[in-house]
């Protein structure tokens, strides 16, 4: 997991942009309209997101479309998955203890 991914996504406007792009690629103007931010702001955030490898640009006709790259999200998923597995292992053991106790009570 690249810690830069999390730091980059920690900014609320950037997280909003990522959530919007999750639904599909969008142009800068489209992002500006939907999030009620000004264009320099959106362009700045898109540049930071691109630098972190989170989004990529696709030129289409006269416009530049931004879309999410899957890799950082896969890495993010794996990052949390280990912690989840650790808890899951504990809880599976807790299930066994509960099962034994339930039997005793019957």
């Amino acid at each position: 997991m690249n810690p830069q991914t999390l730091q980059t996504l920690a900014q609320p406007n950037r997280l909003d942009i990522v959530e919007l792009l999750y639904k599909g690629p969008r142009s800068v103007n489209d992002i500006v309209d939907r999030l009620h931010l000004n264009q320099p702001q959106v362009s700045k955030h898109l540049r930071i997101l691109a630098d972190a490898g989170i989004v990529e640009v696709e030129p289409l006709a006269q416009q530049r479309f931004y879309r999410l790259k899957p890799q950082p999200f896969k890495a993010l998923d794996g990052w949390l998955e280990k912690y989840r597995q650790m808890w899951n292992g504990k809880f599976d053991k807790l299930d066994t203890v509960l099962k034994k106790e339930m039997k005793k009570r019957k």
């Binding site: 810690p3 997280l15 949390l80 280990k82 807790l94 203890v97 509960l98 106790e101």
Partner: protein, 161 residues
Amino acid sequence: MSKHETKVTAEPGKQEIWIEREFDAPRELVFKVTTDPEYIVQWWGPKEYTTTIDKADIKSGGQWRFIHHANGQDFGFHGVYHEVLSPERVIDTFEWEGLPEKGHVILETSRYEELPEGRTKLKIQQVFQSVQDRDGMIASGQKKGMEESYERMDEILAKIK
């Protein structure tokens, strides 16, 4: 008993982690096995660890210290119980003694919710002192996982030899 999924949520830039899991047992029993030292030793560590209890004064204001044992190494954890309210809520502090620096304490709140048909939902909120502390805790799990897979690889390599 069906197997339930553990849900873990960590939003970017926040200092908290949420852990949720359902159990096919009534709330007072889930509360009992998670707050009674006799049962805690049976489940508290990850699967390859054994756990012993140094201190477990499980009441509001009481202290706790548990130790994990794995591969000849000991890992201590300790804290205090801020509130033990049977069968609905436990609030405690949690510090891992293996960190190079002391004072990185987590505030944990465990909520036990009654579900229909004698089931229970356990919701644990862990609040860290900083975003870095939280991300570091999650990353340490990953490191451990990697070490484990390396060890397993060593074993396989040894067999092939």
